[in-house]
């Protein structure tokens, strides 16, 4: 049942592939705005890179949520899905599809941004043999699913509301604080050549915690939205 639901979500995404790519463009554009606003100096960019990449990833995830929930809610198929199967399954299928379609591409495209932010150079401008890109990708890989899970709660809660957009952000951004802290801390620690295993472990712990609990909240919220 879950596989069927997931296939459905992915098929919808494939048929609207441009809409699905927009968050990715957004992610790249936001990151590349920072050199204009702050300074194109390599050393400076490297210092702010962890925060910039993580905040942009977070916003891209948040803004891409709409596609997976709004359409189904408006044309009534969400109601049918909830009649057909359990709310938790519907919730999980949507989150997994959302991550596969936006979270994973975000991780895959991030090396490009690492290049833009000079993440792979040492402070004296030498290209590092073992850059910080893999560890950055790994932190995004562990963090973006949690972003999708928590964001889905806010999105489903806002479905029945009269004004949304900003509303989802206002509800969910405070909840993103821990993920943001540990996600960017991983990259910062790596840049400072210190250990980052603890931060990665906590990111993983947050993911497991979110994975076990949030589907119930999302499912419940979806049910309230269609009631």
């Amino acid at each position: 049942m879950f596989i069927t639901l997931l296939k459905r979500e992915l098929m919808l995404a494939r048929r609207n592939w441009v809409a699905v790519l927009i968050p990715l463009f957004f992610f790249i554009m936001v990151v590349s705005l920072f050199p204009f606003a702050v300074s194109p100096e390599a050393e400076f960019l490297r210092q702010i890179a962890p925060g910039v990449i993580w905040v942009s990833a977070l916003l891209a995830t948040l803004l891409s949520l709409d596609f997976f929930y709004r359409g189904d809610y408006q044309d009534g198929s969400l109601e049918q899905l909830l009649i057909m199967s359990s709310p938790t399954q519907v919730a999980l299928s949507k989150v997994v599809a959302h991550w596969l379609v936006t979270g994973l591409p975000l991780v895959l495209v991030s090396p490009l941004l690492a290049g833009l932010m000079h993440l792979n150079y040492s402070p004296d401008g030498i290209l590092l043999e073992r850059g910080h890109t893999p560890i950055m990708m790994f932190s995004l890989l562990l963090g973006t699913p949690s972003l999708c899970l928590l964001g889905a709660i806010g999105m489903s809660l806002s479905l029945g509301a009269s004004r949304n957009g900003m509303l989802v952000a206002v509800m969910i951004l405070p909840l993103y604080v821990p993920i943001l802290i540990f996600g960017s801390a991983v990259i910062t620690a790596s840049l400072g050549n210190s250990g980052y295993n603890a931060q990665l472990a906590i990111l993983a712990a947050i993911l497991l915690f979110a994975l076990t609990l949030t589907p119930f909240a999302i499912g419940r919220a979806l049910k309230v939205a269609v009631s």
Partner: protein, 249 residues
């Protein structure tokens, strides 16, 4: 046996009735106001005038007597909101959703007072009115959580949906508060550790007025919640006969 256990749970059912609460709370309020005013007056006199000056912080230590009670209530407020949310979702008591709605802005206000008094105190003591310290930052995030709750609750035209959606958000937020606090603490720490009930950490002539102030603030919080809850009842039960009779009297 069955009878006695039933009577001991009666208050719980009665609390679920807006009519019962509206009528009873009108009788409680004058008493609560009297006790709170006395306690607050005594506490303010004791803490702002009769308590000793701190040998390091000078008179600015007196800000603590407002700051600590407000901080306690900002967190208790969120927790009680989440408890109301659980009761409302599980037992479908409408009063509990009303209480949840009534608490939110008051909790946000106490959070704002905490942040404001904290920065007043921080300027002479730390030399800065804002520092990205763990407890301050989590208090700020708590304010954001309150604002998110209020924003969500007020953007539905269907009140029933608004209640249930906001209740889910309150529960999710309450589960997250310790996680946010833990991660922010890991991230940065400057604020002094919790010392209110720790033995020897605070002089008894400061601890006593602080406890009085905490008590007074709890009562003040309760009064504000009751008053708002009564307004909420008027708002929602406007069509019911008993309320119309009550108000036109």
């Amino acid at each position: 046996m069955a009878n006695s256990s039933m009577s001991s749970w009666r208050w719980f059912h009665q609390l679920g009735s807006p009519k019962w609460f509206y009528q009873k709370s009108a009788k409680w309020l004058p008493w609560l106001w009297a006790i709170t005013t006395m306690l607050l007056a005594f506490g303010l006199y004791y803490s702002l005038y009769a308590s000793p000056v701190d040998y390091q912080q000078g008179n600015s230590v007196r800000i603590m007597y407002i700051h600590v009670p407000a901080a306690a209530l900002s967190m208790v407020g969120y927790l009680s909101m989440a408890v109301c949310a659980v009761i409302g979702l599980v037992w479908k008591m409408k009063m509990s959703f009303m209480a949840m709605r009534a608490i939110a802005p008051i909790g946000a206000l106490f959070t704002l007072i905490t942040l404001f008094t904290g920065s007043l105190w921080g300027l002479p003591t730390w030399g800065t009115w804002w520092e990205w310290d763990a407890r301050m930052t989590s208090e700020l995030v708590l304010l954001f959580l309150y604002l998110g709750f209020i924003a969500l609750h007020s953007s539905f035209s269907d009140r029933n949906k608004a209640d249930r959606s906001a209740a889910i958000l309150a529960i999710v937020g309450a589960i997250n508060v310790p996680i946010i606090y833990g991660s922010v603490k890991w991230w940065n720490t400057l604020h002094q550790a919790y010392s209110v009930t720790k033995k020897g950490a605070i002089a008894p002539e400061m601890q006593t007025p602080l406890f009085i102030m905490i008590g007074a603030f709890y009562l003040l919080f309760a009064i504000m919640v009751i008053v708002r809850l009564r307004l909420e009842i008027i708002n929602r039960e406007a069509k019911s006969k008993w309320l119309q009779a009550e108000i036109t009297l």
